[in-house]
């Protein structure tokens, strides 16, 4: 061998090893992309969802005026009015209609709901003054969560003179802290700076100040915003009132149990998943009670009893094909057969369950067959050997041993059914449902459809609600999958 050959050989080998390393790196990179996508997806939705799990409430002293609440029918009482009056009492100086409307617009349309329940449970309180919590509206809630604008509060450190000319206010003195668009809060009012020129700043009143006293350091402060008034869903007057409420210490932040205990609503802060969760539950009960017995029976027949002939082959090809038919086609089937031909009610868990049962049937059959196949033939042969009939051997000995595998497959089928949306859109499960469905033939909606419906709504607050609903759905699915994996590990038997 010559030197040149060795050198050439070394370079050749180096090139081949380089190519080997690159190829391996490509594979690792491909996996990394998938994993990163999954992480990004979950983190992104989680961040969007997080604010929706909390809500802001105002704690108010309210006077339960007996004239507003009929003692014989407490639930019909004007609790919204009571709560609004309670909120107004916090600002006795606020008299202008527009200001009062701004203040009450901070409350949710369902602000009286908590109080209504409290009083319905304890009607003797009517006529007295109680502490009540009132839910804030979605815009106020979003503002307090910092999702509409970032508000910067800085204390006033200079001395300013205040003067009024007609509607306008003039600030003079050391104006170094001021800029247009900011809000100066002083003397019991709030002024928006319209312009700052040399030596004087013009301002308009958002809430008129009660006096025109000179502003000394420490008696006033400035609110400045990352978003101008026109670019946010809450106006300056509402912001000033909210900040005043916050200063009074009446605003509390709580975990939003309401999100799980209330039905759908047009108001984002009131909308909850209760109806959708119960709808999903009813639909799943329907799906399971049909697909599990059918699927297991079909699997037992095909795996244990069926002769190898054209009919069996047809069934097998069918099952494999059905497993790959797009889910929306099952929706068309449900619409044409169950709703139009059999006249079953639209939007009902009954029809949804039927369609989903047909959808997951192939999954369950395939998983059950695999589980049956995994039971060693010696078990069956032993049973046959001691005189059991073929069916006795299968039902008494093979099937019980296959149950863990069948259950795992069933859980995965349930997870698929729980996340399925498209076929349910076809059979009209897109109705706006506030109440929990009372039966299998009542109109209902399910979790994924609820997600789809909310994602279509224009309100910003609903975006976050949608993400939160997704998190709830994903948590349920992960739990189901975890159970399936646990069962597989726990009951897996190596023969």
């Amino acid at each position: 061998m010559t030197d040149t050959f060795d050198k050439g050989n070394a370079a050749f080998i180096a090139r081949r090893y380089g190519s080997e390393r690159r190829f391996k790196a490509y594979g690792a990179a491909a996996l990394a992309v998938s994993v990163l996508f999954l992480v990004y997806l979950i983190v992104d939705i989680g961040i969007k969802a997080w604010p929706s799990f909390f809500e802001h409430r105002a704690v108010l002293e309210v006077n339960l005026d007996a004239s507003k609440i009929p003692a014989n029918d407490v639930l019909k009482g004007d609790f919204e009015g009571v709560v609004r009056a309670g909120l107004r009492d916090l600002f006795p100086g606020l008299t202008a209609r527009a200001d009062v409307r701004s203040l009450t617009s901070l409350l949710s349309a369902g602000a009286g709901d908590d109080l209504r329940q409290q009083i319905a449970a304890n009607p003797v309180l009517i006529g007295s003054t109680v502490r009540a919590t009132a839910l804030l509206g979605d815009d106020a809630d979003l503002y307090l969560k910092g999702m509409l604008t970032t508000t910067l509060r800085s204390a006033g450190t200079t001395t300013l003179q205040l003067a009024q000319t007609g509607e306008e206010f003039i600030l003079t003195g050391d104006l170094s802290q001021l800029a247009a668009g900011q809000i100066v809060r002083a003397n019991g009012g709030a002024l928006r700076i319209a312009s700052v020129e040399t030596g004087l700043a013009q301002a308009e009143a958002i809430l008129p100040p009660t006096t025109l006293n000179t502003l000394t350091p420490g008696t006033w402060d400035i609110l400045s915003f990352s978003h101008a008034e026109a670019d946010r869903r809450i106006d300056d007057r509402q912001v000033v009132l909210l900040e005043a409420l916050r200063d009074k210490g009446v605003i509390e932040k709580h975990f939003a149990w309401r999100f799980f205990t209330s039905g759908d609503s047009r108001e984002p802060e009131l909308a909850g998943l209760r109806g959708a969760i119960f709808g999903s539950l009813l639909t799943l009960i329907m799906t399971l009670s049909l697909s599990v017995p059918l699927g297991i029976a079909a699997a037992v027949y095909l795996e244990e009893f069926a002769a190898k002939n054209k009919w069996t082959e047809l069934i097998e090809v069918n099952i494999n094909n059905l497993a790959a038919v797009p889910s929306i086609i099952f929706g068309l089937l449900g619409l044409a057969v169950f709703i139009n031909f059999f006249g079953l009610p639209r939007s009902a868990p009954l029809v949804g369950g039927l369609v989903l049962a047909l959808l997951v049937l192939p999954t369950i059959i395939i998983a059950s067959r695999a589980a049956l196949k995994a039971v060693p033939p010696s078990i069956k042969e032993a049973a046959l050997g001691v005189g059991a009939s073929h069916q006795q051997a299968v039902f008494h000995h093979v099937l019980p041993l296959a149950v863990p595998g069948i259950l795992t497959g069933t859980i995965l089928g349930v997870a698929r059914a729980l996340g399925e949306t498209a076929p349910l859109l076809m059979i009209g499960m897109v109705a706006f449902i506030v109440d929990v469905p009372k039966g299998f033939t009542e109109a209902a909606t399910v979790l994924p459809v609820q997600i789809f419906l909310w994602s279509d709504l224009p309100e910003v607050a609903f975006q976050s609600r949608t993400a939160a609903a997704i998190i709830v759905l994903l948590v349920i699915l992960f739990c189901l999958n975890a159970v399936a994996i646990y069962m597989r590990k726990r009951f897996e038997r190596r023969w």
Binding site: Y17, K24, A297, I329, L332, A336, T421, F452, F478
Partner: protein
Amino acid sequence: MTAWTLLIIAALTAIGFFVGQARAQGLRNAGTASLHSLPAYHGLLMASMALAVAGITTLIVALVAGSDSMLMPAAAALLGTGAIAASHRLITRDFRARNRFEYFVKLVLIACSAVAVLTTVGIVFSVLFETLAFFSEISPIEFLFGTHWSPTSTPPSFGLIPLLVGTLLITLIAIVVAGPLGLLSAIYMAEYSSRSMRGVLKPMLEILAGVPTVVLGFFAALTVAPLVRNTGESLGLSVASESALAAGLVMGMMIVPLISSLSDDIINAVPQALRDGSYAMGATKSETIKRVVLPAALPGIVSAFMLAISRAIGETMIVVMAAGLAANLSFNPLAAVTTITVQIATLLVGDQEFDSAKTLSAFALGFVLFCFTLVLNYIALRIVQRYREQYD
């Protein structure tokens, strides 16, 4: 009435079981020779007779007289009791109750496995009838070769081509994303990764596969689409806010687990002897994979891709939420296009009258979709079957 009838049927079934069992037990206690079948089998047979007779009676009455009729529970009760009385006489010492019962069970099992066939038949017929009704209004030529789709305009036009192009464009993007990613992931997991790493990576991909498509649609519409749009605009391109690219990218990520898990199985099924032979000739691992394993696994990988394509064509929620509604005949991945599934969903959601061409066109689209996926699935399954036989 339905609830009452079901209750009566359940009660008759239970009564049948106990009557049959008691009679057989009585024979066993009285007689000297043993019974052919255990008393429980006599009970089960009588119960299944009662169930079958009462059930079939109910169905017939319900079809004839409607499910609200008082006749339904009455007939079920009468004939069910009759069945019990009639079969009561049958129970003797030599009566082969077990064999009869097992025959009944077998019939039930066959009926259950026929549901899969019935589903396919149901799909074909429900879609076919509406499609034929649609074609009686709109000519198939116009439907298949028309280049304009606007079912709500007056006069409506039903040209499939723009939808087909949109569907194929998004599918193509998805496959371009998912093909290399899925295949390389599968190769890495099958050939390079350690056991423990595989134990982490495989569940990760399974989780990705289990993410509901409505979630991916939300992500595509709210996160990926703005991202694509901003990136495109910073490069000086005009990107539609519902671009095909965004929907295609997310759909690609959706089918990565499908391609990787199918390819993984197929690569693992390539016999070790082929690899060993290649190593013995001095090939490196990547050379073995590229020149020996992949060619051997090619038919299986092709079928995995076909299943993935069929999945992408039939996917609904991602495109409903992230792709456009207007049917543009465009091959530009940055433009908004619509797909067959989007049109089916938008045509059928909400109120609909069943005789309008607009509603029927959704079924015609469904028929096209079903044919597409059926052909793809069938070919893919055949390839897999043929391929598996090679090494077994």
